[in-house]
């Protein structure tokens, strides 16, 4: 499809659904930095790139050279990175075209993409505009569902921000093992939890882009120096004898009946293809996962947000008053409520006298949660549950939730994120209101190929 038409279509969708914070409108003129760097790095022989002319949208928190990248926040308005994130460099080298930056909860702080930066627009669900896209990568999932052209998105997950919106918008979303994909050029939310991963409508595209973005990066010391499998080889591979553990707690209290039914149909399908299923219990993860996740994520986030202070880049005001007065003014004026809440709690939980009781305690419970999963993977190839306990909620219902009730929505996704395990959300059908339902598969560290192998059969 012609790039002009793609950009036109994105603009049209955006007017109605708000999936982009920035669309690269200058893509066809050589004045665009993005296009310049994109053509410069395209393989010399036209048509050689594995992503040649494929449109790729990018979550706002991933730096794209010359394209406004603000992590969905007000405080980073007008920030134009002077470099590309490693994942961007890699897809550009394969001939991909970056079309724009997608809407998200500011800094990734949310499960519904309703915590957008001050004065920014909330993305609307592609199936029902009164409902949320999910978060925090809401815009990524929305445009992936709506685009009529071939499209892959690069998004990011800290506690479920890839699979949650993928589930609510009816697309595939894969969150890789922690360290599988370089985070260089990602605006950190919580460094020990952040992962960059793709969403797409076809598993072929997921496998294709995972082969390109995975691997060791000299610029990022937490990337894993492990060989990258040819993921596309697993698309056609059968699943006879594959052992799948059904997470017992994820089908109990608080899970929507229709979600349960559709996911159970998915399980039947896998069984018919030869997979062996059995129930497994993850009691610790189920009971303490949300609290452990939010405590650690807020502690790390509060340190990461310290650098946004109205100097060097992003929002600035007239330089008045002392250091502290100036920084406090800019930060108070530009951060949204959820950012302030997380900064305050994260700062508190790291304070002298409270650090052991909160931060260190949560880090210890994290160890126990990782052990719980590792024990399960000694027996199973994959674990299975619904992605979210319910379909995309309506905005008017989200408004009634307290922040804590909001966090509880992540009960099924925080576990694999805390343990750094790769996981995928796959469309599993629709409910009576024609809203999509997602099925989640979790694999052991660096076993992404098993997600692709089983996921492609659903």
């Amino acid at each position: 499809m012609d790039i002009n038409k793609i950009i036109e279509e994105c603009k049209k969708i955006n007017d109605e659904y708000h999936y982009f914070n920035t669309i690269d409108e200058g893509l066809n003129s050589k004045s665009s930095n993005c296009y310049e760097s994109s053509i410069r790095k395209t393989p010399k022989k036209q048509g050689d790139g594995k992503l040649n002319n494929i449109a790729i949208s990018v979550k706002d928190c991933i730096c794209v050279k010359g394209l406004e990248s603000r992590a969905g926040s007000k405080i980073l308005e007008k920030y134009k990175p002077v470099f590309d994130a490693t994942v961007i460099e890699k897809v550009k080298q394969q001939g991909a075209i970056i079309i724009g930056k997608t809407a998200q909860d500011a800094f990734g702080f949310g499960s519904f993409s309703t915590n957008v930066g001050k004065d920014m627009k909330i993305p609307l669900n592609p199936f029902d505009k009164e409902r949320a896209c999910g978060g925090s990568s809401g815009g990524s999932a929305g445009i992936t569902q709506k685009a009529s052209f071939r499209h892959i998105t690069l998004s990011e997950s800290t506690g479920g921000s890839i699979v949650c919106p993928a589930s609510f918008c009816g697309v595939i979303g894969l969150c890789p093992t922690y360290g599988r994909v370089s985070r260089y050029g990602l605006m950190d939310y919580a460094n020990s939890l952040d992962k960059i991963g793709p969403m797409a409508r076809s598993m072929d595209d997921i496998a294709l882009i995972m082969e390109i973005i995975s691997g060791y990066d000299e610029k990022e010391s937490t990337t894993l120096n492990e060989e990258v499998p040819k993921y596309s080889d697993f698309l056609k591979k059968d699943i006879k004898g594959m052992k799948i553990g059904i997470i017992k707690e994820a089908f109990g209290k608080g899970i929507d009946k229709e979600v349960k039914e559709k996911v159970e149909q998915g399980i039947k399908k896998l069984e018919q293809l030869g997979a062996k299923t059995e129930f497994i219990s993850l009691p610790l993860t189920q009971k303490y996962g949300v609290e452990t996740y939010y405590l650690l994520a807020m502690c790390e986030a509060s340190t990461n947000l310290a650098k946004y202070c109205g100097m060097r880049y992003g929002a600035a005001e007239k330089l008045e008053g002392s250091f502290n007065e100036y920084f406090s003014k800019v930060r108070s004026d530009y951060f949204n409520d959820e950012s302030k809440r997380r900064i305050i709690i994260g700062t508190f939980a790291r304070m002298a006298g409270y650090r052991d009781a909160y931060y260190i305690k949560a880090a210890k419970v994290r160890t126990k949660i990782i052990e719980e999963y590792k024990k399960a993977f000694a027996k199973f190839d994959l674990l299975l549950s619904p992605t979210m306990p319910f379909v995309a909620p309506k905005f008017k219902d989200i408004e009634k939730l307290t922040p804590l009730q909001n966090y509880m929505a992540d009960i099924l996704t925080v576990g694999p994120n805390l343990a750094g395990l790769p996981h995928i959300s796959i469309p599993a059908g629709f409910n009576k209101d024609k809203m999509p339902i997602g099925l989640m598969l979790i694999a052991d560290h660096l076993k992404e190929e098993k997600l692709i192998q089983a996921g492609s059969k659903l």
Binding site: V82, S192, L193, V290, Y313, N324, D337, I344, F348, K368
Partner: protein, 94 residues
């Protein structure tokens, strides 16, 4: 642990945030609810458990220190509104 207005204001000031009366009124019950939920972790026995600061085991990655091309001064300053003589300009330090 008593979570009150004074404590919230103190923590906010450590994080360089100045909250309005309205914000404090809104945040206080929310923060209490969240911190109360976090206290649930006390139930878990973690004697003899080491904390995990990463989900996978990471070794210290070292490499040779080499000089490579980096950003130009112009690029580094290109996003700042206030700069002078190739420096960032900030608020008064004293």
């Amino acid at each position: 642990m008593k979570i009150d207005k004074e404590l919230i204001e103190h923590i906010a000031s450590l994080a360089r945030l100045k909250l309005t009366e309205k914000e404090i009124e809104k945040f206080l019950p929310q923060l209490k609810e969240i911190l109360n939920a976090f206290s649930k972790l006390d139930e878990v026995n973690t004697d003899n458990t080491q904390p995990s600061f990463h989900p996978v085991e990471l070794k210290n990655m070292m490499r040779e220190d080499r000089i490579k091309p980096s950003l130009t001064q112009e690029q580094a300053l290109s996003n700042s509104k206030e700069n002078k003589d190739n420096y960032f300009k900030g608020p008064m330090a004293i």
